[in-house]
């Protein structure tokens, strides 16, 4: 049933009455989340990468500044972030088992427990036992974005002999994470990669629905990263909002994030309508929160560079309230 509903919500016809979709989504958001908006920030631990995805700033073919934070540097970053009042952190790396092995990520998670209540991971796909170790260390949420659900296009964008070329291994990430005891998993496609973004968005939704059915306790969430600039199919803001509203209506209980790829005014408005989670004080470089020089270049350009304080004020000025953590117990 969710398949038909989501397909209809994502259709061009539904997009013609975006105002109606937005109103329906706003009502669902309020019913499920009240006026709460969750805050978090990402921290890039390392940007070494063995992939050369055709669209990505971290591609190993790109001549960018590469780096990796030391344990002392990670702690300095954690301190600086925690001082802003944030209690949830998302730890990221590029895909390099050699430079940023699971043990390295695990060290960072253990350290993060002293500073944050909620720890999420956005790292390369791992084995069940590796996810279990990270969960035991304190991580509860795993994001792995499929980028596109079109296998042909996926193969083109993720050349053979790179770790990311295995479509099915990546597709199984959420399931492995949940088998390992993680509390929640995130889904999404890189919007604009596939000209048929409606189909891709539908597939991401159906993937989430399948996983939720298999693991009824798990918390599912969506991210809607949009490729910007020189891409064949840059989605408009209207189209982006349609996707978010469609997810909210079809999955009222799901988390929806809005990233700093979008401009401030757009972000401020969609948190009242569909998104219930927003990043703040974001740096996409390796390090850079604690005032020092960043050790590596960023993955994409920021469209919203506001500090945590500024994001908080924006939330409050809309009559919404900031939530810093949803969890009492760590894993």
């Amino acid at each position: 049933m969710v398949a038909e509903l989501l397909q209809e919500l994502l259709s061009p016809e539904a997009g013609k009455d975006l105002e109606r979709l937005a109103r329906l989504a706003r009502d669902e958001t309020r019913r499920w989340f009240g006026n709460s908006v969750s805050l978090y920030t990402p921290l890039y631990l390392a940007n070494y990468c063995d992939n050369h995805c055709t669209y990505c700033g971290f591609s190993c073919n790109n001549d960018i500044l590469r780096g990796k934070l030391s344990v002392a540097e990670i702690e300095a970053e954690f301190k600086a972030i925690a001082a802003t009042g944030l209690e949830e952190i998302l730890l990221l790396t590029g895909e390099s088992r050699e430079k940023s092995p699971p043990e390295y990520i695990c060290e960072a998670v253990k350290l993060a427990r002293s500073y944050f209540r909620t720890i999420g991971l956005e790292v390369y796909p791992l084995e069940v036992s590796e996810y279990a170790d990270l969960h035991k260390a304190g991580a509860d949420f795993v994001s792995v974005y499929q980028e596109t659900y079109n296998r042909e296009l996926y193969a083109k964008c993720h050349p053979d002999n790179t770790p990311k070329s295995d479509f099915d291994y990546r597709l199984g990430s959420q399931e492995r994470a949940l088998q390992a005891g993680m509390r929640g998993v995130s889904f999404g496609v890189l919007l604009g990669l596939n000209p048929d973004w409606r189909k891709d968005s539908l597939e991401a939704g159906l993937h989430a629905a399948r996983i939720q059915r298999k693991f009824p306790h798990c918390e599912i969430s969506f991210s809607v990263p949009r490729l910007r600039g020189s891409v064949a199919t840059e989605l408009t803001e209207r189209e982006l909002l349609q996707i978010m509203a469609a997810y909210r209506i079809a999955f009222p209980y799901a988390g929806i994030n809005i990233s700093t790829r979008e401009r401030a005014h757009f972000r401020d408005n969609v948190i009242g309508i569909a998104a219930n989670k927003i990043s703040a004080g974001v740096r996409v470089t390796v390090g850079g929160h604690s005032g020092g020089q960043s050790k590596g270049d960023g993955q994409f350009a920021l469209s919203d560079e506001r500090s945590v304080e500024q994001i908080k004020s924006a939330i409050l000025s809309k009559g919404l309230q900031c939530v810093y953590t949803d969890y009492v117990l760590c894993s």
């Binding site: 309020r30 019913r31 499920w32 989340f33 009240g34 006026n35 709460s36 009042g85 209690e87 209540r117 939720q212 009824p216 306790h217 798990c218 918390e219 599912i220 209980y253 009559g319 919404l320 309230q321 900031c322 939530v323 810093y324 953590t325 949803d326 969890y327 009492v328 117990l329």
Partner: protein, 254 residues
């Protein structure tokens, strides 16, 4: 004689319990005052956030009913309850064990286990549950101080979908029965009170109103009205036909 609600040896004159999530913390006092609220639930995550604690917004004299939301097992619920006590939230605890992220339906079996452990630990335990008589009896035997069946899925505002099963609990369980979730409007709260439930809890219905303070007051009045009707004894309702003026038994001589 005063009509008081007694839970765990504590007396309350208000029968409207407020859920404190889903609206801004600085509205808490207004909602409590206008709703005549004496007991309010709070999610522990909002009490132990380093940044903004709901405890700072609760007026004096309010009985706190911390809940174990976020718990997926009895053990997690027990850990959260003990944390609540350490944080100074008192001995009341609303046990919520939920293993279902889509409908947020409670896990009765795990809830029974948590109720038993926490009651032995001296808590005044109020388990949130799916209205099933067998589970309610188990919770009562495990030491629950009240039973909190859902009227409809949390946050759904659908009203008393479980009406007949809640009525069975009211009739069969010798503890206060408090309808806890799904109540979407004051008239539904009134209806639940007319059935003889001891109290009603609401959150989403108040929090999503245009004027949350006024809606809290509307709930207060509806709950009072329903209670008064219950105590007054509702008149009979005839199903479909009028009553014949010549009774069927009119032929009897003795």
């Amino acid at each position: 004689m005063k009509d008081l609600l007694t839970i765990g040896g504590r007396e309350f004159s208000s029968r409207f319990i407020l859920g404190s999530g889903k609206f801004s913390l600085d509205m808490t006092r207004t909602v409590i005052e206008r709703g005549g609220v004496e007991m309010a639930t709070l999610a522990l995550r909002r009490a132990n956030s380093g940044t903004d604690s709901i405890l700072d917004y609760m007026p004096d004299g309010i009985t706190l009913l911390p809940n174990t939301s976020g718990a997926r097992t009895a053990q997690e619920a027990v850990r959260i309850a003990r944390l609540a006590r350490e944080l100074g939230c008192g001995d009341f605890i609303k046990v919520e064990v939920i293993n279902d992220s889509k409908y947020l339906l409670p896990d009765n079996a795990e809830t029974v286990k948590a109720t038993e452990i926490l009651a032995k630990d001296g808590f005044i335990v109020m388990p949130y549950m799916f209205p099933d008589l067998v589970s309610a009896r188990a919770m009562a035997n495990a030491g629950a101080a009240a039973i909190m069946p859902l009227g409809a899925p949390i946050g759904s505002n659908k009203g008393l979908l479980t009406r007949d099963f809640v009525q069975i609990l009211v009739d069969e369980i010798d503890l206060p029965i408090i309808v806890d979730a799904g109540i979407g409007r004051p008239s539904q709260a009134c209806e639940a009170m007319e059935m003889g439930v001891a109290a009603v809890m609401a959150n989403t219905a108040v929090a999503t109103a245009r004027d949350v303070g006024a809606m809290a007051e509307a709930f207060k009045l509806a709950v009072q009205s329903g209670r008064l009707a219950y105590l007054a004894g509702l008149g009979r309702v005839l199903d479909c036909e009028g009553e014949a003026s010549s009774p069927l038994t009119g032929f009897l001589e003795d």
